[in-house]
Each structure stands twice: as C-alpha cells, then as structure tokens.
C-alpha cells in the first residue's frame, strides 16, 4: 500500500509543479468557448441550441492536449522500466496516473464549463446535466486517452488522437443528448446511467489494456 500512496503523492507533486499540464487545457477551453459567439453567431437562440454540442466537443479536444502527458514523460525518463521491474500491481499504478491526470486536466474544465451560461447562453436548467455528464463522462475519455497514450508511445503526435477520438464518440453523444433532453423537459437520467455503465464497464478493461500496451513497448 505504501507504494501506491507514494505514487499518488508523487504524481500530485509532479502535476502541481508542471503548470502546462493543467493551464494548457483550461486556456484552450476558454479561448474556444469565447470564440464561438464571434465565429458562429451572437444570436442567443442559435448559440443556446448549439451550446451542448459545442461544450462537449471543446472539452473533448481540450483533454487531447493533456492525455499524452500520462505516460510519455515516464517512458522518456525510464520510470516505466522501473515500475515494470518493481513487480507492483501496474493496473493500480495506471489508475492512479489516470486519476491524477483527470483531477488536473478535466476537473478545472468542468468547473469552467459553468461560464457557458454566460458565453453560449446555455439555459440554467442545462447546467445540472452538463456538470453531471461531464463528471461521469470525462473519466471515460481519460481512460481512452490513457490507452491511446500507452499505445502511441514513441510514435508521432497524431496517432494518439486518431485512436482516442473515435472511441470517445458514444460518450460525446450521450453527454450532449443529456443536456438537450434536459432543455426539452425530458428526463435525462437514462443518459447519465448509460455514461456510468460505460465507465464501470470500461474501467477494468482499459486498465488491463493500457498495462498490456505499456508492456508491449518492452517486448
């Protein structure tokens, strides 16, 4: 257990000192959200209808910036070799890394997404499904990001996003639909339950696959 606490503390310390890991996605998100009213339309009715999709797509693209950080540095500096040699449970270590990455790269974006009420004229009743769907959907996106990051280690930077984006489409659709349902007065709980089910179902599978992908680079 001591090893996992040690890794958790170490990851928090590394991310907190590496400001780019959490500032870059946040800045990208804020700039994109601010540009939509300028680039698309400043008509509140048009923006209100587009807001759920725009927010979710922007969140998805913002996370692309950060997920390469999950393993790339560890691969470069030899940390993954040491983890493999340590004989510790790699799945748990990968889970810690994904969790810390989510805390630093997704959580600030989820908080900032509340500004979309002002920038994209998202009605207040859309706020609850937006936050809930992002809280449940973004960990799944991080899982896909970790898998793509593990598979594309040492390869060009387009490989990871090319793997991750198609996998994330169901989450994007369900998340956007949850907000739209809420705005139209339809119960959105089925979407949230589906997002939760996807997360629970994929968590062990993707952890296992990510560990396999990491080991693949050493065989």
């Amino acid at each position: 257990m001591i090893y996992f606490v040690k890794i958790l503390k170490k990851e928090f310390l590394i991310y907190s000192r590496k400001s780019s890991s959490f500032i870059s996605p946040v800045v990208f998100f804020l700039i994109s959200i601010s540009l939509y009213p300028i680039g698309i339309s400043n008509d509140p009715d048009i923006l209100k209808n587009l807001a759920p999709g725009l927010i979710w797509i922007t969140v998805l693209l913002s996370t692309l910036i950060s997920f390469q950080n999950i393993f790339a540095e560890d691969y470069e500096d030899g940390s993954i070799e040491l983890l493999l040699a340590s004989g510790q449970n790699l799945s748990l270590i990968v889970l810690i890394k994904i969790f810390v990455n989510w805390i630093f790269s997704c959580l600030p974006i989820i908080v900032l997404s509340m500004f979309s009420i002002f920038l994209l004229y998202l009605p207040i009743e859309g706020l609850k499904p937006l936050i809930i769907s992002l809280l449940i959907g973004t960990p799944t996106i991080c899982l896909f990001g970790a898998l793509a990051g593990a598979l594309s280690l040492g390869k060009n930077s387009i490989t990871g996003p090319a793997l991750m984006l198609p996998l994330s489409l169901p989450v994007l659709i369900l998340g956007t639909q949850a907000i739209n349902y809420s705005l139209n007065g339809i119960n959105f709980s089925s979407n949230i339950l589906l997002l939760t089910a996807i997360l629970i179902f994929l968590l062990p599978i993707i952890l296992f696959a990510s560990v396999g992908a990491l080991k693949l680079h050493f065989n």
Partner: protein
C-alpha cells in the same frame, strides 16, 4: 538464489545472446562484460522482469526483492534531488534524515533542494547511487553503474558493494571494463 538455464533472447529473428547458463550460489558480485550490442543490458532487463519474452529457464530460489538501475535514471525534472529519492518506487519508506546522510556522503547535500533538471549527468548518476545505498533489496541489477563517475564516487560505490555483499545481497552489473578481477565475470561475447 538466481539460476538461468539456456537463457536466450532474440530480436527480429536474430539472437542477441543464446544458451546463457549461470547461477549466483557461490559468488556475490557478477560483472557482465562484452562488446556493444552483446546483450548486457538486455540480460539485466530480463533478470529484472522488464523483458518477458525470453527463451530458456530463469528461477529464483527465494523471494526476490530486485533493485534495477538502467541507463535512464527515472528522475523527474521538476522534483528536487531529495524528493526524487523520497518518492523512488524502488525504496521502502525512508525519512529525509536518512536521505540527507546519504547525500552528504555523495557530496550532493548542497543540491538536495535543486530540481534534478539542473544537474549534470554525473550528479544524476549519484542520485541513483543514493537510491542504491538506501535500498534493502537482495538482488541488485545495475547497468554500467561506474559510468560518468569521478574517482571518489567510484571508490565509494565499491565500498557500497562490499556493504551490500555483507548483508547477503547479490549484485549483477554490466561494464565495458574487463580489468577488474575481483568479481566473477560473465563474458556476453561467448553467448552471441
């Protein structure tokens, strides 16, 4: 405690080394020598468990606690020297005072709060030696540990070897230097 029998490793259908057999029963320190590409680092990675797809047998007679040190030190650039050691995955729970005493011996105490990004290669090697000193493993696998070290640190490292041996630990390390006859030599060129 460690025994290999007909150990072979191939990459792209070409054997890096083949039919390597040895055991660490009588001797405590083994020095892997050989030309570049003869498989010294590969063997250390197999013994540490990083590489799995080898041929032949590899067995440990007791519970292995491995300390592996490769060419890359696994240091985090934005952590200080002390933090890098404190959070090293290979070490048990250690205190800052233990780290400080080791850093004093290695003349690194003045750099303990400096981020490792600002250190020279030699100083980074010293951090790895600090971890080696603090480790309680029973099998040490060190890839060219004497590289980039000054005379004083080289002598200190040899002293640490003696201390580790006295605790019953085994050390297997790679080197290009064939001159030292104090250790059991494994010539990887013979298995290519």
């Amino acid at each position: 405690m460690l025994k290999t029998a007909n150990l072979s490793y191939k990459f792209d259908d070409k054997y890096i080394f083949s039919n390597l057999s040895f055991e660490t029963t009588n001797d405590s320190v083994f020095k892997l020598v050989g030309d570049n590409g003869s498989g010294k680092s590969t063997l250390l990675k197999i013994l540490s468990g990083i590489y799995k797809n080898y041929e032949g047998d590899l067995s440990f007679s007791e519970k292995k606690l491995v300390f592996y040190s490769g060419h890359k030190a696994g240091l985090k650039n934005n952590l200080s020297v002390r933090e890098n050691i404190f959070f090293d995955i290979r070490l048990p729970k250690i205190s800052y005072s233990q780290i400080n005493s080791v850093l004093k011996k290695l003349d690194l105490i003045d750099y303990s709060d400096i981020q490792s990004a600002y250190l020279s290669e030699g100083q980074k090697r010293k951090i790895n030696i600090a971890c080696f000193m603090l480790s309680t493993a029973n099998l040490y696998l060190l890839d060219e540990p004497f590289n980039n070290l000054d005379r004083k640190t080289t002598d200190l490292l040899k002293e640490i070897f003696d201390i580790k041996i006295s605790t019953g630990a085994k050390i297997i390390f790679s080197s290009h230097d064939r001159s030292n006859e104090d250790f059991s030599l494994i010539d990887m060129n013979l298995f290519n």
